[in-house]
Subunit: 575 residues, 2 copies
């Protein structure tokens, strides 16, 4: 029986409970939606006592299925004021799954904030004051905790930004080698964790009994089939070789690469910051630099990398497309080393690089600093770390930065920054930004993958594209697997039910999986409705008014089309 | 026939139209609600092209009825994201009424902001670039415009805060002597005016034909009766002698005087900042100092004052209770001269002193400056004027300040600062804050006046108290008269219909007036619902959790009671 650990961060009370009828068949994102809807007042203050931070392992989190082991974090978001789930690889999810813990729920909030660490192992859980970690960087925190508790532990932690309640703060984790820092970045969940006074959670899987599966052999076979299908898909090799930056050149070509605060979809410096350029630099520089590394043990895609400076010293791992775009082209910066340094600073301070890059772009629009001025951007991030008024503005994200500096061109939907796909020339993702309960989040349903089959700049069929992608994402985010395994499920849709049935013996069909996805989104939408989040949340007005070069497109899907996304009959084919 | 002037601030097009069927019987606040609901997309960006700033004269705005001539300003609020109306005395409303203009509607927004002045007289309207007014203080602006256009004009203008799009910015006007600066302060309407690139509106009533009334004799008689009833009410004399600060001692006694960011309802320095203390200082200091002055010509109450420094030089006119409370006790400041100087700076920079005082209190809570440090508070207001990052935070109001500085105790409802009546010990006004479409605004329904008949700390009957007061306020705000004439209408409720019938010949009854109020609020609530404003907007969590000294009360009205405020049957007796 899977367990839920509740932590009252005000009283310090800790308690395990068994997953009951309502939660036994939920994991990851779907579990978060369920808990939020059932337990958190939708209109509560996101950083107040009534919000809860939920850490949930996926339904396949304790298996060796490839990429499984991502962990979901969720709460009412201080950015969107609605439901938020963000998931991440690294070791924390696998450790949690191995401990048989389906969720950790941080409740209430302490009267005063002393950095505390929640330690969980097979023998129980405890809270420890660790004032020495106050305002510690993410890598210092992880290093300290791995030294203290051993290298086998999984860690989730926040940086100074989360401690200071900044709404661009994410929650960081590390891979098993202690090199990669990865983020459940979006939605300001790091600020929620900070509001609970929890600097880090440490999960030690040692001494945990081996998980019992309904049909271990069938599970192993379905897992092998999944890996096989994945490895034969050409996207997998491309991702392995170039990582997520592989898509930068494509996005530039499509005219959707955010450039100078979304003034253009084309960046003249694109070649210098592309996946190919990065791969070649990694090859050339050697030292710590690596391509094709995994973020969770057992991943067959291995799309991560370690980006090193000219001296071969690791700067940021892994460097990702969205971060390059928001901190790079969006700020008019074409120097990949400067971008990597900005990304490193975001990682150390504990910031979502997407939200932060967007905020810096808005500050550039306001004239606080110049487009292309990487030194000034770096200085800004140091201000964030120090918590100066200017730093706190940036650290609270693009919407707050736009408000404070009186900017009209602010690329946010529902309070959250638009990621690295300008929706004017990729309209399906615009539907996702507008209609996903997650707000502007590419992982909630990224239409880039349909750009070859559905005209990305046309208005036809975009709502259907988005809905299908969103349902799909809801399933993957609940299994605890990576979105990049989707090609295998597209080829063999019944594989999801096969995996779940082998793990749990539920006897599910493909239709049950689809209903599961729909229920997850319905819970999320209900929460948002009660929270007063306007759905659909329209795109920023400037994206409806201002043509985007090079295709001179505006976002012209009528609001009624967006509204139909969830009211029309659902598609039969989720995957 | 009354006219509406539309100004396209992007193209510069100006056009007059006659009030049609939908608007002929609307004025002030009710007209604003109607125009917003009909013409402004509820989810639009408040400082974007789709919002409109509406200036509306009251239904009695062209009459000599006492206190008539207040002008209403309205828009979608950048603070609450919902409907907002704020009204103010001074000369602008009477000038507008005299010109036969029921409303001026500023539409769209210019691509770049050069300070412009809208000049309107009996011969037409025109827009004039006045770059010399860029970032000019409110008094400099008014002085310049009165010099340029003559002292008979009515002026509405913004200060640097409005030009910089700060959400605590109000819209200022002057009395006919050029001494008093008064504000349509709340809701961030100054920022909306700034977004339209309009630094000032100047209304010159010279050459306007005398207004034609349906029955001038009956109007005059009803007006005289109103004045008579008002003058025999004891509150009128008290208000004349001590102005709004008269209630400070009462509020302190009730335990609702905001003190140190709403940590207490009792201020140890209350006696030093009370109405009596101020009146005695004014008497002693002489020079410019004055008590009992009118803000609109023809007012029989005359509750305004001119507060002078020890040398007899005018500092602020008029000094008001809410400003003293928010800038004074709420910041732990008991030096009335220091408070007056803070108030003067707010007036000059163009800030709502309530919102700004609350923001400074929140900054004090965050440790940015100390409670009681008037010098530091003054320095903060200079930062606002200069537009520094810190100044822009404060100038954007209490909610933004709380967000940026990670404060949990933020006294706002629906994004707008709570005025000078702590709802934990005056629960009826708490209902108003939660259920009024205006958010936390004492003028929308101030339960202080019922504190003698309904237990202010009890839970019984508060929703009914608030609803009645809110309906009442909606009528008065639409007539263009002062809330302080209410005692006359309470004694003789049919007087409102008498006045309207004499002015227009509508043949209204008391029931029509009540239906008018209900329709106004219904329009506003519909707009808010579509805008995603959560109604009722609950009070800040700390007010439900943290007992307020000296009575150790929390706000304990259940959310369901608040919800019932507008769903229960309406009261028969509005007044």
């Amino acid at each position: 029986m899977q367990k839920i650990l509740r932590v009252n961060t005000r009283t310090g009370a800790l308690g395990f409970e068994s997953c009951g009828e309502g939660t036994a068949r939920l994991g990851g994102r779907a579990l978060i939606a369920h808990v939020l809807l059932g337990e958190v007042p939708p209109t509560c203050e996101p950083l107040g006592r009534r919000n809860k931070l939920i850490v949930a392992s996926g339904l396949l989190g304790d298996t060796r299925v490839t990429t499984a082991g991502r962990v979901s974090l969720g709460a009412k978001s201080p950015l969107t004021q609605g439901v938020k789930e963000a998931n991440v690889g690294g070791t924390a999810g696998q450790a949690l799954g191995r401990l048989g813990i389906r969720a950790v729920i941080l409740e209430d909030a302490p009267a005063s904030l002393i950095p505390r660490v929640l330690f969980v192992d097979a023998h129980g859980a405890r809270l420890m004051d660790m004032p020495e970690l106050r305002r510690a960087s993410v890598s210092d925190t992880c290093r300290f905790l791995r030294h203290r508790f051993g290298e086998r532990v999984g860690v989730l932690c926040i940086g100074p930004a989360g401690e200071m309640g900044m709404r661009a703060a994410g929650i960081a984790t590390m891979d098993h080698t202690g090199v990669q820092v990865r983020y459940a970045a979006r939605g300001g969940l790091g600020a929620v964790m900070g509001s609970k006074g929890i600097k880090a959670m440490v999960f030690d899987p040692q001494d945990a009994p081996a998980p019992q599966f309904h049909d271990a052999k069938a599970l192993s076979e379905a897992g092998k089939e999944l890996a096989r299908l994945l490895l034969e898909d050409p996207k997998t090799e491309n991702r392995h070789n170039f990582g997520t930056p592989a898509v930068l050149a494509l996005c530039n070509e499509l005219g959707i690469l955010p450039t100078r605060n979304f003034r253009s979809g084309n960046f003249e410096g694109a070649l210098k910051i592309s996946g190919e350029a990065i791969a070649s630099l990694i090859d050339k520089r050697g030292g710590d630099a690596r391509k094709g590394t995994p973020c969770v043990k057992g991943c067959v895609i291995q799309c991560s990398n370690v980006f090193a400076n000219a001296a071969g010293k690791a700067i940021v791992a892994s460097i990702q497309y969205e971060n390059i775009a928001l901190l790079g082209s969006n700020c008019g910066i074409d120097d990949i080393d400067a971008i990597a340094e900005l990304n490193r600073l975001c990682n150390e301070v504990g910031l979502d690089a997407i939200e932060t890059g967007a905020a810096i772009g808005v500050a550039m629009e306001a004239g606080v600093l110049d487009f292309g001025d990487a030194d000034a951007a770096r200085a800004l991030l140091h201000e964030v770390r120090r918590g100066t008024p200017l730093g706190r503005i940036i650290g609270n994200g693009a919407a707050i930065t736009g408000t404070v500096f009186n900017v009209r061109r602010v690329p946010v939907v529902k309070g959250q920054a638009i990621p690295a796909y300008d929706p004017r020339s990729l309209k399906g993702i615009g539907v996702t930004y507008a209609t996903s309960p997650m707000g502007a989040d590419h992982t909630a349903g990224n239409a880039l993958e349909t750009a070859g089959t559905v005209d990305p700049r046309g208005t036809e069929g975009q709502a259907e594209v988005s809905r299908r992608l969103q349902l799909r994402a809801a399933v993957l985010d609940s299994l605890g697997v990576c979105l990049f395994i989707r090609p295998a499920f597209v080829k063999k849709p019944e594989l999801i039910a096969d995996l779940l049935n082998a793990r749990y013996g539920w006897g599910w069909t493909y239709r049950d999986v689809r209903a599961f996805a729909a229920a997850c989104l319905a819970d999320e939408r209900t929460f948002n409705e009660r929270a007063g989040v306007v759905e659909p949340g329209d795109l920023p007005e400037f994206m409806r008014d201002e043509p985007l070069p090079p295709h001179d497109t505006v976002f012209d899907l009528p609001l009624e089309d967006l509204e139909r996304t969830w009211t029309a009959d659902p598609p039969d084919d989720v995957f």
